[in-house]
Symmetry: D2
Subunit: 483 residues, 4 copies
């Protein structure tokens, strides 16, 4: 059976042109004028774009004996509803747990996914087993390793562990990733705030100021440079971190930054809301920042110093959030966003003129597909690519509301925001998962996307590091004398 | 008749994959496995890439009653020999000359071109006629306007003229371009150097220090921002100018910088050579800089803060250079590079690991095709694109020498440099112009490439400027009183 | 007769200690414990500091056939009331007027001054006469030359004139000063705003955005560097200009920036006030900026990248301001501040902890005395120094109000601000001009302060420029050949 | 008995004037014209300046069972020979050793000092005892605490310890100091270099690249900011660290950087010397850098972003250096410089025009006296100040040579450098310790200098931090509901 998308304008990261798209067997088989097929999707007045890729989700993430409330089913359903056709989740080994073991657990959860997915593997502790299994993980198609510089006493790794793991990544041709906040300082600030009676959700923001993120970002960049590995900084939320990334890039270092849609569009005043629930529902790390930081992030997307817009989707219900009443450090960290990322970015980015439609595609899909080395299988509108597509209606509007969302939680941090620009159709490997607001997702349709190590950037960086490696001085007779 | 490129690896700005390419009627008609055609070009072991685009040449440029020595015939022959399949030259109206008049003169010269070409129009004076004819020029498909901030008393325009012309560009959806050096200061420094007895070619470098370029770059950026137009800075040669561009980009401004292959690979010590001819042959503006500036430019290409590698090819013979014996200000400004840009950049960029092969394609071809809005007709390996292609043999080597070059001049600023990575074939709209070192160019084969105004970046910038435009305050009763 | 200040704490730019001060003949004659004298001023609980120096005033400045409303009498009376004991005014030659001629006019006005004063000479046009008279001006003790990069068609000078004048300053051992805004762009923006119907005072701010000031600052710095002269940038109001200054300083350039007390404490929202008079009274160039710019200026004072706090005191009455009803470009530029600078800076700087008391003295007095080379005659509490002193009561408060001010105008831009920290006594060369709120100024008491050229910074810069000057390459036989 | 310095020109951090100086009882008792005294020192043609203060020495420092070879006697003798009249050494507690215990050990060593001295206390481990004894240390007049971010497994402290100690410093009104290199990364790089066969002294430099210092500097700054304490970064050797300091200062943070005379004047090529001894004698941390870093440091001194020039004097003989033959990590770290700092800085700084004589005094003496809160007892030429003075002959020259030095070691890293500008006399509290090349030091003459905590900068910073401290949001009823 074939599906044809008719009368649309194809918009990719670098092209805008009118053409129809034919899909067979989940793959794009033809792009051209006047194509015919068994099923026809009318894209009149719409843009046909690569489906979004959200490289930063935590679906069904274990937390204090329970789980984040969106699992691979509801999470990917929300994703598709908003035009996102692939998610990349984080496999999180418990302390001492083997990487392959954790991977098996994640594969188990993702069986219910409605769209394709991949994983990053987190390095939450260090040892010979981890070192060894990193290779096996890469062989399984997982070529990106996440490191937490925060969450002291839990997920956090120290600088020597970072360095060792980054070097291993370099050797394996993998990508190093970091959650960049100085965990020692966050822990001390948190303790002090609690001691001083600052116990509400706003203290979460106070405990993780921009400087703390900027510092860790800067540190990760140095360590990656010493290890000779490309670095991807997740949830870059502030000018300080962005500055560190820009500074690295201006020296030719291979570093990418990922702002979240939340940080681009919401600010710290949310935490000062008199309603505890309102504030607590916005608790995530890093916290929302002020307007100056937002301007910095937008400019980063415009100039290319920041590369990807993600969500860090990690949905906790109000009930779960209330674990932290009276102690902000116990509020589960995370907000939703999977369904809203694309419309919010289009509305506040493209409709304002900050981003071109092509840049929109780049930062929501194509850039990360390249960085994660699954392009052009994903992130492209090309013959042979997976038919992960969104037919985008730039005139369609709605007001975001928890009442009508796919996510399993009972609120939405974008509640009340009006968006203009929404999917008419979303296709996951050719399957129409969303049609004009109607959800037709199929549980279990999603497949794991394996990725190859050693993309061109890794090879180039390794060549340069080899070329410029320290050379021993030849000396005749040691000790020699002289002055 | 069809031509097939067989057994190569296609390398574009964002893809690397094995496929054959079929060409008919000068156009790419198919990309796939095992293609057949009337003529077969063997690309075994080679990369099949978009032909280079050099957006900065001065062929047969009028100068002191004579002309730069490479004309559209020899210049484009040299280009093709080095893998470049399109040049963009500058139409330079004389003072008081109409733009359409100048355009006619340039069209007349380019009839002998061996490869495709386009023009930028220079704004060398200002007046109602210029204002009016800018629209006609755009309608002719020339959508980029160059402004000289140096060459006082000749090509230079002042800030108010810059601003007026930039605003006109904004209204027409065109691209503003600048040669950025402070012409007033250059003139004063030159006079002073001559007065102090500094009359040799090295004084040319002394008269145009990096600060002078950085200042003008910064100024052009501000004026473009005020006028609401994207800006392209030609021949960015130094950290100071690059810093200004980075700073602008980090604020979301739409600015691109263009380093030359000369500035990337040659340094100021050339001017200190005891042989006057050696030094004078390297005289160009801006002059070569030191190693720190080179590092800055390379990092710019790596990070994306600089976008395009060009040549400013403007070839004068030794005899012409000697006009300036005893007075450096009379040495004709310009060096060659059209034939050497691609091999030099591959050798010093890709072979060292500073650039990936994809980045090489981006900075030699695809980026400028996008900026000048002739992508994907040019700069792409896509079905429907012009078959401007280079089959690149990464193992082929040579030593650059004036003795074996296509350019009409009697020396080469890269003399003696060994390059590894050279064209096996170069195709201009399907015509094999270079085959394994054999030149088969056809005079007059080249065609003019017209370009559309108002690309997406212009439209986005205009939208943003409209959104953030100053608003008048409503006041009831003026004057009001109060404190 | 001797005067003794008893029981105070002396605070200078680098010392804080308890001591009495004895004054005879207008000079400090002794500093020590338990001093006795004919007249005793009780400084119990107070700081004894060098009187403020305001290096940027326009008293009785000619404007459209009238004058700014504070003359040397009322202006210096206001100064003394606020703890400022010296002003430096700008002698402004009319187009074509000789410098010495202008100087005579200014000397004529200043005869009524209540405190000491000096001048900067403005270079408002260029020619042989100006070049020649600059030397005479220096010989008269005026060693700083101001240049306007804005006010096109009136005071503005072009880049070649700037360069020529800066070189002359370098040769004379003088200080170059600039009002840094791009006058061409301001003129174009103003015309455009008027054409678009933006005619109110807020359009004054729109017509001179921070970028326009940043650009000119950057340009002046480059030109000063090429000319080899130290540079003083007046009324640095924004991050863009401050950034240019920081960048220059980080390269070892000798550049100082001068924020105004207005820009430190008032913001652009003043121009959006519904009362036209309110807004118009705040019209000055550069205009007030937003809070981010204020933060930048404060940090500059803290770190030393900005050096001096001034006022640009140029007082126009509401009636004068109303020249510009219906056309913002006709609103006379200028605000008051002489009386308020010290208390406002103490309140918002020292009382908040942004500045130490010593830093307060540095930026209000000592730094500029050093820069202008009249230290330690002025700006010091040392034996032999002029007894220009303020006895500062850190507990004294008031609410600023036009109703109780010394200035001749009918409003105050700081109206309603509460200040804590005010003079108990102000002494001008030993004369008690202000005593506990009582004004005892003496018209004509003020004297002209002549200054020597070639301070240490000029000499050092000249030495460095000589050491690093371009050197001609020795060549045997020109033209030589070779490749 | 009185001593008079006659016919000299007094040069301080902010004044240059002709006057004689009378000294009695080790104190300056009069400054004026034509003074008489029992002993007369002829300063004709000389500058009379505050004696140098070297805030960074390691005299008789324990090392691998032996000691650095210059003790308080030879070290201070070398200091005086070069015009330095005070040193500040580091008391280094062994792991687990109490601070007061270490202090007693250092007091014991310093009994032989020829000039005055003070200490910084190092925090080499953390615990309740350390926390408690910090107060006792401050009460003993030692108000600066040093922290090592390198030397893993020995002196290094982690981020949480840094934060805890910095907060303690803030509470005590003390100064936080850091040796800033990332010790984890240095350890890993060192191990890797050894493993790869890089065992010579050059590998010491390879193991501590500028990025590693820049990172740690940036981290220390963030932690100090969070703790609300001023920070002093010792031996700032590179642009990366300087950049971090500049960036902090441009945000108003209270951070100072200290380049060493070695880093200002010697470069990394020393480590590539074919003579092992030559290279090993230059091994110190951070290592020497390249010329670009030197330019950065000089510019920092010019602009004020760097504040103090020190030596990190820690002298090991060639024999001691040879502990590290075959394993660079065992070469004792340290070089000399006490005798050479002032002449080298004068020669390369003042004689070139990079620094004024006043700036020379500031960076060698006055600035650090202020930072360490012992000004104007030290670092001043004022009545009442200690008569620690140097009579500086700007015409005197010599060639530096180990053969004629005071230091106990057998070489000099500045061997062969010609200096112009040397002491004619050096006085330690009035005692003539050096007279025209003759050494007249007196063992044990030196006294401990106690310092007060809570200087103005600490008080201001604390006020600002209090003013901007996080505030809890008032909420009625938790949990509240709403969206
Ligand atoms: Zn995270
Ligand atoms: Zn996350
Ligand atoms: Zn040019
Ligand atoms: Zn050109
Ligand atoms: Zn002005
Ligand atoms: Zn003014
Ligand atoms: Zn150290
Ligand atoms: Zn040390």
């Amino acid at each position: 059976m074939s599906t044809v998308i008719r009368n649309g304008t194809i918009v990719t990261a670098d092209l805008t042109y009118r053409a129809d798209v034919r899909i067979e067997g989940g793959i794009i088989t033809e792009i051209g004028a006047d194509l015919a097929g068994d099923e026809v999707l009318d894209a009149t007045g719409c843009y046909v774009m690569p489906g979004g890729i959200d490289p930063h989700t935590h679906l069904e993430m274990p937390f204090m004996g329970t789980y984040s409330s969106d699992d691979f089913e509801s999470g990917t359903r929300a994703a598709l509803a908003g035009g996102t056709t692939m998610v990349v989740d984080f496999a999180l080994p418990a302390p001492g747990q083997g990487l392959m073991d954790a991977l098996a657990m994640w594969h188990n959860k993702s069986g219910r996914a409605n769209c394709d997915y991949s994983y990053h593997m987190a390095i939450t502790w260090w040892g010979e087993q981890v070192f060894d299994e990193m290779q096996a993980v890469v062989e399984q198609g997982i070529t990106s390793f996440k490191h937490f510089m925060a969450y002291k006493g839990a997920l956090m790794v120290n600088d020597d562990e970072l360095f060792a793991s980054f070097r291993r990544c370099a050797d394996l041709g993998a990508l190093a990733m970091v959650h960049a906040e100085n965990g020692d300082v966050v822990a001390e600030l948190s303790a002090r705030l609690l001691a001083e009676g600052n116990r509400g959700p706003e203290a979460h923001a106070y405990s993780r100021p921009p400087q703390v993120e900027g510092e860790a970002t800067n540190r990760a960049i140095m360590i990656a440079d010493m290890a000779g590995v490309p670095l991807y900084v997740v949830h870059t939320s502030c000018e300080e971190a962005h500055e560190a990334i820009r500074r690295a890039r201006m020296q030719g270092k291979r570093v990418w930054g990922e702002p979240l849609i939340q940080h681009l569009t919401l600010d710290e005043s949310e935490y000062f809301h008199p309603d505890w629930d309102h504030a607590a529902r916005r608790v995530m790390s890093p916290p929302f920042r002020n307007k100056q930081h937002q301007d910095s992030l937008w400019a980063g997307l415009q100039s290319g110093s920041l590369s990807v817009v993600a969500t860090d989707h990690c949905a906790f219900t109000t009930e779960q959030k209330r674990f932290g009443v009276g102690d902000f450090t116990r509020i589960p960290n995370g907000t939703g966003g999977l369904e809203d990322r694309m419309p919010m970015l289009w509305t506040q980015g493209v409709n304002t003129g900050r981003l071109t439609p092509n840049e929109f595609v780049a930062v929501t899909s194509t850039n990360i597909a390249k960085i994660l080395n699954c392009y052009p299988k994903k992130g492209a509108v090309l013959v042979g690519a997976d038919a992960d597509l969104v037919v985008w209606d730039p005139e369609k509007t709605k007001v975001i509301s928890a009442g009508s969302q796919q996510s399993a939680i009972d609120y939405n941090v974008f509640e009340g925001k009006e968006v203009k620009g929404l999917p008419r159709f979303t296709l996951s490997r050719g399957k129409v998962a969303v049609a004009d607001g109607e959800i037709r997702t199929e549980e279990g349709h999603g497949q794991f996307v394996a990725r190859e190590p050693r993309p061109a950037v890794n090879r180039a960086l390794s060549a340069w590091k080899e070329l410029t490696a320290p050379r021993a001085i030849e000396r005749s007779g040691i000790p020699a004398t002289g002055v």
